[in-house]
Symmetry: C2
Subunit: 349 residues, 2 copies
């Protein structure tokens, strides 16, 4: 178990600090403090405003120096810098953490271990730098072979209407519910937060496109050899103007047996693409089943609705509407439990 | 105009030497000799057996040393080494070419400019090493924004039932036919051979998957600003177990107005995936129109049939069958000219 402090400078909110929230909610590691000078002195849960109280009791501090008081062994870069380049103030904090002997864990596209100054410091202080987005050697240039998964295994792909609707969260909730019921369950992580939680996985968005299906196949096959149920974290959306390729590579690479559809109840258009509306859920369902079916049929058997932004009554009404429209079992697994969705999967095979 | 010798050691045949054939058929450069010690002394066209006589008059020689007699300025690595690693014999020949002052052009996944020995030699002799598969800086990490193309431009995507069925070739034939008719036409290259022919483009299979649609969009937008017709080289197939993600990224990134379907008349299953049959062309057409339509409708208006392996009577019969089945104008543009397919495009807008 690591003792983590998370750098979330200027962006400690529920939308930007996805990785921080995921690690606090699902990680096995202890999160001791979060660094955001704009909220120093507050309680993390109060800043996030998460209805489940994620971050309760975790103090927000102004900088690494203050975080060192909590005796951490790891600094996690929990957000991406605006503009994609490492701000100088962050660099100074990372170097301070290295000098204090902390392991550096980063989900940035730009690999910190390839940065000469950071690499030199890490070597000087004997510190490890883990770039979570660097594809693991065994998958980085793997081509798909299309062989079927172990008979008796069930691979479940988490589809989404868009990015950032809760696919990773739903996969983890289902995995945990399956484990609670004594099922042999695996979680195949495909994004940086999932990889941090699982300790392994593929950064799908960072894989060279020729090898995306192959890397996915390799990861899912390993899991399907060991587990009867494998929950594959989905990425992007088939309807996304920028990221649909990532989605299709994950679907065809994982060759799922069943799928679940994740949607944010308040989202009507693709985020950052307001001219691209999200079609009705029944149409999104048809599209995913169509695309999976080009290689192997994989019905969608339930809908996971993210009702984070709604009060309880509105959430229940939204769930009832989605269930009526699709004819599929629907719930918000974070708010009301993943049981009904796991039931739907179990009765479908 | 470059003076090229092509390294195709042990693989000078019509299937493996796709890049060599493409450059000889469509390139502006002079190909002086091809290197393959297993066919030294023969004529390249005789070895290839191409019905259009590609490679006629180009001698096959045993090694770089013999090729230097033709006074080349460029060595092109025209095939990938078996197993993906550079064989020692190739390395020696590349170093010999560098010592003779030749520019090195390579389509390998492994970048030659990053190889310490080759890089050092290139620097010592003042020689340029061009890794065609290295994504151009301006596209390597570009995110798609989804903006429409210039009004009045027509973007045409070349779909395929599989890899290696002739998509690049058909794109170039159409581009040339359009130029012959005085149309402002552009060719958007997305694979190494196309990039060599066009001198620019994106190595789609090498782009990080998050940026594939964005790189495609960037390339196609540049072309659509300058040309009324843009022919986008397709890659892979939506039905391909390993490469469907590349295909979808290119389609959604290029946002085509029209599409053409390319098929090898003798192919019944995906190459190397014999358990994955190619559906009837009318079904493949439906699938491509479906996937493009998730973002923007793009009808397929013609079929390009690769009849390379058939005699004339069988070729004409295959074309008639495909035309009957799909109801679309069909021809083999390499064998019988691209005119009918360009006509189909022009009358469709």
């Amino acid at each position: 178990m690591r003792r983590i402090v998370i750098l979330a400078e200027g962006r400690l909110n529920i939308n930007d600090a996805k990785t921080a929230v995921g690690v606090m909610r699902y990680g096995d590691d202890a999160v001791l403090a979060v660094i955001d000078s704009t909220h120093a002195g507050e309680d993390c849960a109060a800043v996030l405003g998460d209805p489940n109280g994620v971050g309760r009791g975790v103090p927000v501090v102004a900088h690494v120096e203050a975080a060192l008081a909590f005796d951490p062994d790891t600094l996690l870069i929990g957000i991406a810098p605006a503009g994609g380049r490492l701000p100088d103030t962050w660099r100074a904090q990372i170097l301070r953490a290295i000098a204090a002997g902390l392991t550096i864990v980063s989900g940035l596209h730009q690999f910190l271990a390839d940065d000469p100054e950071i690499a030199a410091a890490a070597q000087a202080y004997g510190v490890r730098v883990w770039d979570v987005r660097r594809p693991p050697e065994r998958f980085a240039m793997r081509l798909a072979d299309g062989r079927p998964h172990r008979p008796g295994s069930h691979v479940v792909y988490l589809c989404g209407t868009d990015c950032n609707v809760g696919k990773m969260t739903v996969a983890v909730e289902l995995h945990r519910e399956a484990q609670r019921r004594g099922l042999a369950s695996g979680f195949a992580a495909t994004g940086q937060t999932g990889i941090l939680i699982a300790g392994d996985g593929i950064p799908a968005d960072r894989i060279i496109s020729d090898f995306l299906a192959g890397a996915t196949e390799g990861l899912v096959r390993e899991q399907a050899e060991e587990h009867d149920w494998v929950f594959v974290e989905g990425q992007g959306s088939l309807l996304h103007p920028a990221f649909s390729a990532v989605t299709l590579g994950l679907i065809h690479g994982s060759r799922p047996d069943r799928m679940l559809l994740c949607h944010d109840a308040t989202r009507t258009a693709i985020r950052h693409f307001e001219d691209t509306p999200i079609p009705p859920l029944s149409e999104v369902r048809r599209i995913y089943e169509e695309a999976a079916g080009w290689l192997k049929p994989a019905p969608i058997v339930g809908v996971a609705l993210n009702t984070y932004a709604l009060d309880d009554a509105a959430a229940r009404a939204a769930i009832a509407r989605a269930q009526d429209e699709t004819g599929l079992p629907t719930t918000d697994p974070v708010r009301y439990g993943a049981g009904p969705l796991l039931d739907a999967l179990l009765t479908s095979v």
